[in-house]
């Protein structure tokens, strides 16, 4: 009996070893060998992203990633440096005098990755399937404005709008949804939104060649690409959710570069920069990190309280201590480097005395022996809502809590995971919300347009601003600025809208965020592209 049982223990151990090796052996062997051969024979760059690439459909959103959609699918026009609209799949275009008709002359040398022709018919087919789901894309105002699509001849496509809409070309540069899949990619129902794609066929410089969900995706250079071909043969994108793990993988040379916004902590960026072993870069400001005050709530509906909160926020301390000086101080809702956003305003510089005076004037007075200000016997407590998955928001929220406490304001921190956070934000159940603008090419016009609508795909700003007496007037100006054909009037209106938002102090812009790039010294060509979400994989090279 005893011998039998000791054998059982031994056999159990042997079984564990065999089973573990067996499972390991059969599951990923092929993949690993494939990757190894890829590394041996061709130029490969590897980087990582926090999420899986999804089903790689340019006509849908979550769980698709912007960067991978941009690798495979292309737009009619391209958002170039400084916001210049450049020819892309359309080599030229004509706009009617009334601004309602756009005729695009398509390139004749473009093919999809399955060798099928890119022409006006397929452009129309893509537009039409997108327009069939108009409601789902209503955050893109252009889609609401499209009246008709026509293929005038094999390489000429015409877009007719309900109104003259000035950001038409700019919105055509968006990574989604107005990009093109080949005929063979369409599902039997022809509805790419509801039924997805049969396969990922685009005109872009990359083709998805291997994919393991939640692990990695391999993109191979599209040898038939019409434009400048990428310098490397393959790009491997690994899914790594943790920023610190990403840094360690980079240090171990398992990643060639780190790229993006918020992909590693500011500490890690500084650490890698200070090590001197790697190249580091920061992009020009892309979007603005900002606080948004809810103008429907008792305290924050008071202009003086919002002004006081602006004056009492020490932006420089946040930038120095949380961002290590990496981000630039923001005084306006949008970075002034964008079109129409450079406005002349008096910034709310850090001034505690002024903040205290404003709070006193608003009736929130200090009470002897009590830590927080009161008005009519009620304590000044503000609920600060932020996204628990964003470490930067958490750090800033804690900083704000400490700083405002000195002023007699009790900040109640509410951290929620992403989905719940947005639900609460859209419902307006907060006093202060941590948010950010959408970066180019969405800023400023798409972001401002979202203020005017309670669309689910818009922003929480609509509800937050409802308490402003000028809300209706602001909305009308925003709608007008999008439709005017007069450049002078447009500039004037933008200045007016942005100045009003600044004067009403509904936002507290903190800093202009940037993309970061960290790469090994054998990597070159890693320059930032105009759209924040695009990774410069066409220009990148490896020695």
């Amino acid at each position: 009996m005893f011998i039998k049982q000791s054998k059982i223990l031994r056999n159990f151990l042997v079984l564990l070893v065999i089973l573990a090796s067996f499972i390991t052996g059969c599951s990923n062997k092929a993949t690993e060998q494939d990757n190894a051969s890829v590394k041996d024979q061709s130029k490969v760059v590897t980087f990582s992203m926090t999420g899986d690439i999804g089903d790689l459909n340019p006509h849908t959103y979550f769980p698709n990633e912007f960067f991978s959609q941009a690798m495979v699918y292309e737009s009619l026009v391209y958002y170039g440096k400084g916001g210049e609209i450049q020819p892309w799949l359309a080599e030229s275009w004509d706009i009617s005098k009334d601004g309602k008709e756009y005729v695009f002359h398509l390139r004749k040398d473009v093919e999809f990755s399955d060798d099928s022709k890119f022409n006006a018919a397929i452009v129309k087919k893509n537009f039409d399937t997108i327009l069939d789901n108009r409601k789902q894309h209503e955050w893109v105002e252009l889609i609401n404005q499209i009246k008709n699509t026509e293929a005038l001849d094999e390489y000429t496509f015409k877009l007719t709008l309900n109104n003259s809409y000035y950001p038409t070309l700019q919105e055509l540069t968006y990574i989604r949804p107005l990009r093109f899949v080949g005929e063979a990619a369409f599902p039997d129902s022809q509805d790419t939104f509801k039924d997805g794609l049969k396969s990922q066929i685009g005109t872009g410089p990359w083709v998805l060649s291997e994919y393991k969900k939640n692990e990695f995706a391999v993109f191979t250079r599209n040898e038939k690409y019409w434009g400048t071909k990428p310098k490397v043969d393959k790009v491997v994108v690994k899914v790594i959710t943790d920023g610190e793990s990403r840094v360690l993988a980079f240090e171990k040379n398992e990643l060639d570069f780190i790229f993006g916004n918020g992909v590693i902590s500011q500490d890690s960026f500084q650490f890698l920069k200070d090590s001197g072993k790697y190249e580091t870069k920061l992009s020009e400001p892309t979007a603005t990190r900002t606080l948004l005050f809810n103008t429907n709530k008792e305290a924050t509906k008071d202009h003086k309280v919002r002004l006081a909160l602006n004056y009492a926020f020490n932006k420089q301390a946040v930038i120095d201590n949380i961002f290590y000086g990496m981000e630039k101080k923001a005084d306006t809702l949008f970075p002034p480097v964008l079109e129409y956003t450079k406005i002349d305003i008096n910034p709310y510089d850090y001034d505690v005395a002024r903040a205290e005076q404003l709070l006193d004037e608003a009736g929130w007075k200090k009470v002897e022996g009590k830590p927080f200000r009161e008005k009519d016997g009620k304590e000044l407590q503000l609920e600060f809502l932020f996204n628990s998955t964003d470490n930067i928001q958490k750090s800033i929220a804690e900083f704000v809590q400490g700083d405002y406490r000195k002023l007699g304001i009790d900040i109640k921190l509410t951290s929620q995971e992403t989905n719940t956070f947005w639900t609460t934000a859209f419902q307006g159940n907060y006093d202060i919300l941590f948010t950010s603008t959408w970066a180019v090419p969405f800023d400023p016009h798409s972001y401002l347009a979202s203020i005017t609508t309670d669309s689910e795909n818009g922003g929480p700003d609509y509800t937050a601003l409802l308490g402003l007496p000028e809300k209706k007037e602001i909305d009308e100006k925003i709608k007008k600025v999008l439709l005017t054909t007069d450049e002078k009037e447009r500039k004037m209106l933008y200045t007016d809208i942005l100045s009003t938002l600044h004067d009403r102090a509904v936002y507290l812009p903190i800093s202009y965020q940037s993309n970061v790039a960290v790469y090994h010294k054998n990597i070159s060509g890693l320059d930032f592209l105009p759209q924040e979400a695009e990774v410069p994989l066409t220009t990148i090279d490896v020695e």
Binding site: I8, S27, K29, E215, N419
Partner: protein, 312 residues
């Protein structure tokens, strides 16, 4: 023996039924509307009309008990529904993530056994000696060091500095070592102490004195008599730990970019992917209960008294 197993299997039915009720009710108690979550994840604006239509389609307007029986009927046919995010069946998603998790857990279990058993036995035999003190330190470090910290330390030293293992991802056997060692590390201390205590208790039993009187050598007494009896609580513990590790390796999976069940579970919760959450909870519960059953069966095999009492 087979009667014992049949009886234990029969006792699983009410347990699984209870789990299914708790899983179903808990998910209906948490804030949020599955119809709204589905629409959001499908990028469809959750207008009142859309929500009402979907609630009707998903049967969410029915009374709770009818919803439960409909759901249970499907579960019995192994239909756990469709993920709101990936639009794949919940089964496909679970199977996709289960294989990496089983790899990780089996290897971790192997590490736990080969590290904690010898140390536990030696520290009991040499009680109070330096080797016992050393094992005590290992045990304290193991149970008190946070998993994420240990994970980053092994990556930093064994991977980045000494270049012995890859940092992240799946692939070769080498990819498996660090994550499974990290997962195992937190359990090793517990099993060292558990086996040591059990061994010390049994070393004072009359059968040991009798064995000595029979002139058996110390080595024989330990390996053939004491260890056999002392291993029982460890077997129970390993069964429970196996279940825990299958579903609770979230931190290790995140650090090592290991696409297992823990990551699937957490992302489902974050995305409010209701069918996926329900499927994961139910599946993990079943696994846990099965592990429990296997432990009982193994236990009865190692200690016939249990089998005989159970078979009465």
């Amino acid at each position: 023996m087979s009667w014992f197993i049949v009886k234990r299997l029969a006792s699983l039915v009410p347990i699984l039924l209870g789990i299914s009720i708790i899983t179903f009710i808990l998910l209906h108690l948490i804030p949020g509307d599955p119809a709204v979550a589905y629409l959001r994840l499908s990028n469809i604006p959750p207008t009142d009309v859309a929500v009402a239509e979907l609630r009707l389609k998903l049967g969410l307007d029915n009374p709770l008990h009818i919803q439960y029986f409909e759901w249970l009927g499907k579960v019995i046919q192994l239909d756990l529904g469709m993920s709101y995010v990936s639009k794949n069946t919940v089964w496909d998603e679970i199977l996709l993530h289960l294989i990496p998790t089983i790899q990780l857990t089996m290897t971790a279990l192997f590490f736990i056994v080969v590290i904690s058993l010898p140390i536990g036995v030696i520290s009991a035999i040499y009680k109070g000696k330096w080797i016992d003190q050393f094992s005590r330190i290992i045990a304290y470090v193991s149970v008190s060091m946070p998993t994420f910290w240990f994970g980053f330390l092994v990556i930093f030293f064994l991977s980045v500095k000494l270049d012995l293992f890859p940092v992240l991802g799946r692939g070769t056997l080498a990819h498996l070592i660090l994550p499974s060692l990290t997962l195992a590390f937190g359990y090793i201390g517990t099993y060292i102490r558990l086996l040591r205590a059990s061994m010390l208790e049994n070393l004072n039993e009359p059968f040991v004195v009798y064995a000595k009187a029979r002139g058996l050598r110390q080595r024989q007494i330990i390996s053939r008599h004491v260890l056999k009896k002392s291993i029982l609580p460890v077997v129970t513990g390993l069964g429970m730990s196996f279940g825990n590790m299958l579903g609770g390796a979230v931190i290790v999976e995140t650090i090592f970019a290991w696409p297992g069940m823990g990551q699937l579970f957490v992302s489902s919760i974050l995305n409010q992917d209701y069918p996926m959450i329900q499927g994961c909870v139910l599946f993990m519960s079943v696994i846990f209960v099965i592990c429990n059953l296997l432990v009982d069966v193994t236990y009865s095999f190692l200690d016939p008294r249990i089998r005989l009492e159970g078979g009465k």
